[in-house]
């Protein structure tokens, strides 16, 4: 049985994230720890009230780069499974924009790998967010470097 192919999966999705489905992807008999990260749409950014976000992805390259990051996590940390899904399209305040989950034999590797995945996804995957402000304006964010963690 080829289990390697199913141990690291990255998706871009227009549909809301089915967290229970993603959690099932992390199951394996040797798992003793699961760590997940949810990135949610916040109602403010840098002092400006935000009503909603639009995410856009260069789909083909985003999925390839996301998959590369998950494979890197598997190579660097003693983990069992790793999955990550990023939304595109219009998202309201409170919605989950990105979900990353890692399962491992022990918690240290799960925490470290999860942190690695979300940090690398934010820095490298070609996805952009447009903030729609309560005052009516909107703008794409193109940060010079990674913002607050």
């Amino acid at each position: 049985m080829n289990t390697k192919a199913s141990t690291a999966k990255f998706w871009i999705s227009e549909a809301p994230i089915d967290i229970a489905h993603l959690q099932r992807e992390l199951e394996a008999a040797g798992v003793g720890a699961v760590v997940c990260f949810e990135g949610r749409v916040r109602d403010h950014n840098e002092g400006r009230p935000v009503d909603s976000l639009t995410y856009q992805a260069y789909g083909e390259l985003a999925e390839a780069e996301g998959q590369r990051i998950l494979e890197e996590a598997r190579a660097r940390f003693a983990i069992e499974r790793v999955v990550c899904l990023h939304r595109v399209g219009e998202l309201a305040v409170g919605e989950v924009a990105v979900w990353a989950g890692v399962s491992a034999g022990h918690r240290a590797a799960a925490f470290d790998a999860c942190r690695y995945v979300i940090d690398e996804v934010k820095a490298r995957v070609p996805i952009w967010k447009r903030e729609h402000y309560r005052q009516g304006a909107s703008e794409w964010l193109h940060p010079d470097s990674a913002g607050p963690k």
Binding site: H86, V121, K122, V125
Partner: protein, 79 residues
Amino acid sequence: MNYRLLYFASLCDAAGRAEEIVASEAADVRALYSELAERHGFTFAPERLRVAVNGAFTDWDHCLADNDEVVFLPPVSGG
């Protein structure tokens, strides 16, 4: 040569389109960006962008071939 350009985020706004076919004499991606930046008013310096050709990241000296798909990627902001 003809190149297929895809534009994302603020470059899409500046170009006023998500994609276009461009006839150009530019031989590499740096020359092509210079030409398009002037045409569409792109303000990003090349150092702030990444570039992809035919779906893979590459560098600014990449030599282009007819019908290549070229994407200039502004700083990302996912998550």
